[in-house]
Amino acid sequence: MSGDTPQRVRVVLADIARPPRTAATRAELTEQTHVGDALVRGLVRAQLALALRLAAVVVIGLGGLPLLFAVAPAVAKARPFGISLPWLLLGALAYPFLFVVGWAYVRLASRAERDFTDLVERP
């Protein structure tokens, strides 16, 4: 290939995994019929509920710590394994905790999207 005549490349937003089987449902989505609109609203609501549930896990599990240390100062003075508890929790354990919550979200969100795709593409 010479430098000044680059080969033409077809650009698509995403690859189509398989040929569309159910054009009707897809058309309902894009044309914003009542059915399509309800489908999208349901998906958005489900994904938001999932995100909020996992955010609540972090808000309680991590966000509750300052309050806990404030109302029960004795907890902050505990020294499991010879390390001050706040240091152990915030300095080390917080990071794997955040990662596990994120990992759970990616799994659950992908599953919700797969279910939605199956619903739309069901013959």
Binding site: V12, A14, V40, A55, A76, W87, L90, G91, Y95, A109
Partner: protein, 496 residues
């Protein structure tokens, strides 16, 4: 303190940055190459690059310095810096990628259909970007002064010059590789000395760490500690998603699902990195107590290897840390500069051509360099914290409500950004240039997020409900575009 190995190490890091940049330059041909690396960046490179870009002077030097100075309360800084990526993953990552927005102003236009809103968003992107760039350049000046005794302005000018040249000539393609490399360099430069320091401490039969109760236990130091802690948590958890250089990166993922996977890897990489600064802060109590007395705690990471271990090993490790610190300044500044230059070239100075991008990069780099030369008394970590507070009070509500709530209107978004973000900007300006404050006023102004973030959300929702008729007519198809699974995208969305 001067270190004979530090200068060669810093020069090596800078050269490698320039060389990898030049390699990228050879590959960058079109505007699209320039701006988003043609979306051909693989997820592992991309995640390392995002992490490399994110871990700034505040993370590399500032966190350890804060822990040395204040103790348990500031452990929330690194936790919040990492948790910000979880908030981004849960609420923003996939829909934002699917929206096709490259910058925050793009998102305003796509979601709200209001070209005039671009200007407001652009102003905030530039403010946050510069607010974040100044402490990076300052950190460079302080580091070079600390390890070589060179003049403060030299470090500022070196980093500003290298970064501006690299961004102007290579664009994002080159900085993707530069930043992926710099993540691993930063991790190595921080982790390896920790191993040596711990071994050294072990050999000395684990001398006790001097730990006064105000340092060891949370909520024993500052006034209004609980409020300040929650304010810090809000700012860092929610601010990450609104940082302009973080957002730009998401466009380099091929689709929404890839954006989610990349964000998860970033969360892991960033969390791994933040395990290490705490060791410097804690061991610093033992080996470099003079830094607490003199207030120069920001240099603990640089000083600790020499002070604790000493000799040749100490100097080599000190040089490694200095190189890592330079990698931090170079990579974060590159990302910020690309983001600021991107909005400058599309919304202020030109129409997004390669030529206007280059000129914008020069302008975007020159302004913070001049600011950094003039103010060297600012506290590095505090300014970065304030940038998070501004982002959390302006772009976080815009993104979260824009993605999940159909009712958001252009008027509501503008009002929320002006009132919430504006209050945060005011608090920043008072903190940086205003008179010293005391009591509750000081807490409210120095840690503003706890009131500015709820304020921004409230105003945005209220004004949107009042201007309900301005909801875009195409809101249904916009929501479809943001949320439809990638497998349905090819024909479910209208091509741009």
């Amino acid at each position: 303190m001067t270190n004979a190995y530090a200068v060669p190490a810093i020069v090596a890091v800078t050269l490698v940055t320039v060389v990898i940049g030049a390699y990228g330059l050879r590959l960058a041909r079109s505007t699209s190459d320039f701006l988003v690396a043609s979306r051909e960046v693989s997820p592992s490179w991309n995640a390392a690059a995002i992490s490399g870009e994110y871990l700034s002077a505040a993370s590399f030097l500032g966190v350890a310095g804060l822990i040395l100075k204040y103790g348990a309360d500031v452990l929330w800084y690194p936790v919040g810096f990492a948790a910000g990526y979880l908030a981004l993953l849960l609420f923003v990552a996939a829909p934002l990628r699917r929206s096709g927005a490259f910058t925050l102003p793009d998102f305003c236009q796509l979601r709200l259909g209001a070209p005039w809103l671009r200007k407001l968003a652009t102003a905030f992107v530039i403010f946050i970007g510069w607010l974040y760039l100044v402490p990076q350049l300052q950190g460079a000046g302080l580091t070079l002064r600390s390890v070589t005794g060179a003049h403060y302005s030299l470090g500022v000018l070196i980093v500003a010059g290298v970064v501006t040249g690299n961004v102007a000539l290579g664009g994002m393609r080159s900085i993707t590789y530069v930043q992926a490399f710099q993540y691993w360099l930063k991790l190595t430069a921080l982790a390896v000395p920790v191993m040596f320091l711990l071994a050294h401490w072990q050999r000395q039969d684990r001398p006790a760490i001097p730990s006064p109760v105000t340092w060891l236990l949370p909520l024993h130091g500052e006034e209004h500690g609980l409020f300040a802690t929650y304010s810090l948590i809000l700012a860092t958890f929610l601010g990450t998603m609104g940082l302009p250089h973080v957002l730009v990166r998401f466009y380099t993922n091929p689709d929404g699902a890839a954006a989610r996977r990349t964000t998860l890897v970033v969360l892991g990489l960033v969390g791994l990195f933040y395990l290490f600064p705490t060791f410097y802060g804690v061991l610093g109590r033992l080996y470099t107590p003079h830094l607490v007395a003199s207030g120069e705690t920001d240099t603990v990471v640089l000083a600790l290897p020499g002070a604790a271990i000493g000799g040749l090993t100490g100097e080599v490790l000190g040089a490694l840390v200095a190189a890592g610190a330079f990698a931090a300044f170079l990579s974060t500044s590159s990302g910020l500069l690309t983001a600021v230059a991107g909005v400058l070239s599309t919304d202020v100075l030109g129409r997004g051509s390669v030529r206007s991008f280059r000129w914008s990069a020069v302008v975007a780099g020159a302004v913070p360099a001049v600011l950094a030369l003039r103010v060297d008394a600012l506290d590095v970590s505090q300014v970065v914290g304030l940038a998070f507070a501004v982002a959390a009070s302006s772009f976080c509500p815009l993104l979260v409500l824009g993605i999940w709530w159909r009712g958001l209107t252009d008027l509501g978004a503008a009002a929320g950004i002006v009132v919430g973000g504006g209050s945060a900007v005011g608090a920043v300006l008072v903190t940086v240039v205003g008179p010293p404050l005391t009591g509750w006023t000081a807490t409210l102004v120095e840690q503003p997020a706890a009131w500015t973030v709820p304020l921004a959300f409230t105003v945005m929702v209220t004004v949107s409900i009042m201007s309900r008729r301005r909801v875009p007519a195409a809101i249904g198809s916009i929501m479809l575009r943001l949320h439809a699974p990638d497998a349905l995208r090819a024909d479910a969305t209208t091509p741009r």
